[in-house]
Symmetry: C2
Subunit: 549 residues, 2 copies
Amino acid sequence: MIDFRTHPDSYRHWRLRIDDRVAYLDMAVDPDGGINPGYELKLNSYDLGVDLELADAVQRLRFEHPEVGAVVIGSVLDRMFCAGANIGMLASASHPLKVNFCKFTNETRNAIEDATRRSGQRYLAALGGNAAGGGYELALAADHIMLIDDRNASVSLPEVPLLGVLPGTGGLTRLTDKRHVRRDHADIFCTFQEGAKGQRALDWRLVDELVPASSFAETVGARAREFAEQSDRPADPGGVELTPLDREIGEDHITYSLLTVSIDRGNRTASIEMTGPEGSPPQDGDEAAAVGAKFWPLRLARELDDAILHLRVNELEIGTVVLHTRGDLDTTLAHDAFLLTQSGHWFVREVQLLWARVLRRLDMTARTIIVLIEPRSCFGGLLAELALAADRSYMLIGSFADEGGHEARLALTEANLIGYPMSNGLSRLETRFWGDPEGHALAREAIGSRLGAEESLAAGLITDAMDDLDWEDELRIVFEERAAFSPDGLTGLEANLRFPGPETMETKIFGRLTAWQNWVFQRPNASGESGALRRYGTGIRPEYDHRRV
Amino acid sequence: MIDFRTHPDSYRHWRLRIDDRVAYLDMAVDPDGGINPGYELKLNSYDLGVDLELADAVQRLRFEHPEVGAVVIGSVLDRMFCAGANIGMLASASHPLKVNFCKFTNETRNAIEDATRRSGQRYLAALGGNAAGGGYELALAADHIMLIDDRNASVSLPEVPLLGVLPGTGGLTRLTDKRHVRRDHADIFCTFQEGAKGQRALDWRLVDELVPASSFAETVGARAREFAEQSDRPADPGGVELTPLDREIGEDHITYSLLTVSIDRGNRTASIEMTGPEGSPPQDGDEAAAVGAKFWPLRLARELDDAILHLRVNELEIGTVVLHTRGDLDTTLAHDAFLLTQSGHWFVREVQLLWARVLRRLDMTARTIIVLIEPRSCFGGLLAELALAADRSYMLIGSFADEGGHEARLALTEANLIGYPMSNGLSRLETRFWGDPEGHALAREAIGSRLGAEESLAAGLITDAMDDLDWEDELRIVFEERAAFSPDGLTGLEANLRFPGPETMETKIFGRLTAWQNWVFQRPNASGESGALRRYGTGIRPEYDHRRV
């Protein structure tokens, strides 16, 4: 079982150091610290265990260090920044593990860009040595890449010539769409094992700055301090500690403080029930920060994030995730309003941005997402966003016989318009009504109301509404049917239907690039007995079926 | 060997009839007419042989029938429009054949949309019976879908529930991005084998019009005549016949009138040499139309299109295509200018649109494209577009020793800005300089000049320039290196690097959707011994590995 929870005190692969407003995050991969046996993490090559520490560090810097305005990613090794994803790991990993590994590392790189763009923590990559493959892709996630000019250090994407696979962590998309490397330059770069160094790397926009070896550390520090000065984050320390998540894992249950997961293995379905807030929201952002990791939206977001990751990686056969909420709608809406009105406060902004990332992680999860809106639920504002993220949503008409007249309500707020953008840059509401301005206008009119099932259906906000008599039978059919389908067909279907309309770098990475990589990973030329991944390091050349597809 | 050349006189699967300004194209698939043995094309199910006749008809209608302003796609069968791609064919086809089949059918659907949007031939789908899977996807390519309201006829995409694969011909993208079907409705529709009929099909935007059975033919005809009236095409007949292509296929050579293909099997490379025009262009569009199929740009476009298709399907091991031109640059530029200035004429417009489609077919070809700009070549305007379509382009500095001082020139024109848009909606020049406005401005300044190798390099228009001494050796290394790489890695690399920047429905279909489908096709759940494609029709349920990836 892979546990995504970690803490700087137990990092095996990274060293984190804060110097005034600049954080230094140095890669120091322990060769013997692989998350699975059978490979050695030489030369700062990485596996999922290395990346989940990085993800943890990126997250903590935002919450625990409001004063940090710039983050430098470097390496403790001489002449080596990072050698990329470990090839022994890739060669021995199952297809699902390879795909999950790429997805998570992609999300970590996106989180780095999210911190730079939205959170005032600008990332620099300080390449004091070679950045190869995934190592260069990590650098590409930074806003500014500095390369030591020592006649040796290079950046490279040797996946195609060396391994017969694609750079799997957004490299191709970031080359063309972020750094605007011309496509023929990119073609040469990606097919030349040695990559590029010095002036060529600069001329082809592969790096932003060449720095003489003699002044490397000094120049990196100066540049980072310069960027930190431009940050809108508060200069005085006083962060919010991300305390360890309470979690108990049983056979078919996972229990957190605000969330429980119940697994029905027969239907390959997991139900997640989330608990709404209790009591009034804090007076202001400072009071919220004082509540810290127990602040309801932060606590729930962290628990939901962990639950999604756990299901993705440790429960591969669970094909459907059903989301429920339970709580007081008024209190939920009060917290939703608090987040919106106080979003100028650094901590509140971070909580909102975390929710946005967790929701995007949900969008990118290759499981059917179904939301059930029942009596005593609290799908309001922020939590209504879950209903909009679902592949299907069902709402009860009236009340259950034994629920004393309680009825389900769905309540949209301004948060559903501006609070939690998808990877495509649109709100989930805009995405839902893509190309249908009338439908979108009708749905917007619902903002501020508490809609019953039939009103929600009329406003186009839910998939279907059913009464007590049909509820259980109808849903049983939905779950059984879903469990019987080809999991691959569903993955491809959902990946396409969830993202109508415009594309961004993020959707291109997950849609176009990831799909191609998944395909290449499956192919005998990569993963077969004589494929490049399996032959790497043996001294024997791979044998290719040369038919072009 | 698959031959893409055909003619209405030899159609086995379609009936074409022109009635004044409306064409009726009725599907009448011959069950025994499969292009490969081993399956029966029942119920208007189709294979590549059926689709290449459709592509031919779509093309001919544009050139041979300027008077046709609307095209109705229908069926000769009772209660069945089209059952989609033949499943026996899919189950028995190799992976490359499945992928090539999907790509070509996608291009045919795109050609239908291109005719509607740019050519004044608006397509209607007249569903007098069921449209299932690829049958409904064919209807989705039309601008207007009419469904008979007889309580029986339905539209459906049963691929996921029935076959464990995706609708492979753009269906998912067209549902959400063209018809704006809400994603949860699309989810239900695509997982419900029976699909939708009657009012639900209309309510969910799956069709545009329900027509009572008693007046179906009459209403379809009236609607088509109404659309034809709005066309900007000339009402008086007098088309240009697309005469049979001259082609001779030898062991390693294919010879057309203006184009030859030479195959180097050792380097898995095909060289295509195209000949420029001779003599002055015609005076005007009518004179060009009188020249007909021999009009240089039309003739060359058709030959190039056929050569690309031949290589794609019949020469799977050829991984690199090298493009050369030979001819007089002035004469080429005169023809290029003619096409631009006379583009108001229906025939000239068709020739331009055909070139645009052939160039897009090249962009979508899973082979490395390399352009060599040598002395006596004629890369001007229209033909310069080939250089911009290449993954890499190389140009000779100076002249070859035995060429008497002739030097290579590259000449951009206005055509490179507005004439031949890519699938992403941009010109190839914009795409090349995506995110680099200065580079784009510099390249635009070159319009109207005849650039030598070093000027072309400085303007960013070519990948590299070499002199006589290096030319052969350097290129030999490029070709050998390319031939040694994993063909799958190259396919994925090129598919990503060719399309920086914005995405459209077309690029989403080829990038996102196709990549997912290729992945699903590879998976054991679809293509394995116990997979859904192989088990279909046996009465035995497929066995799935239920791990979600």
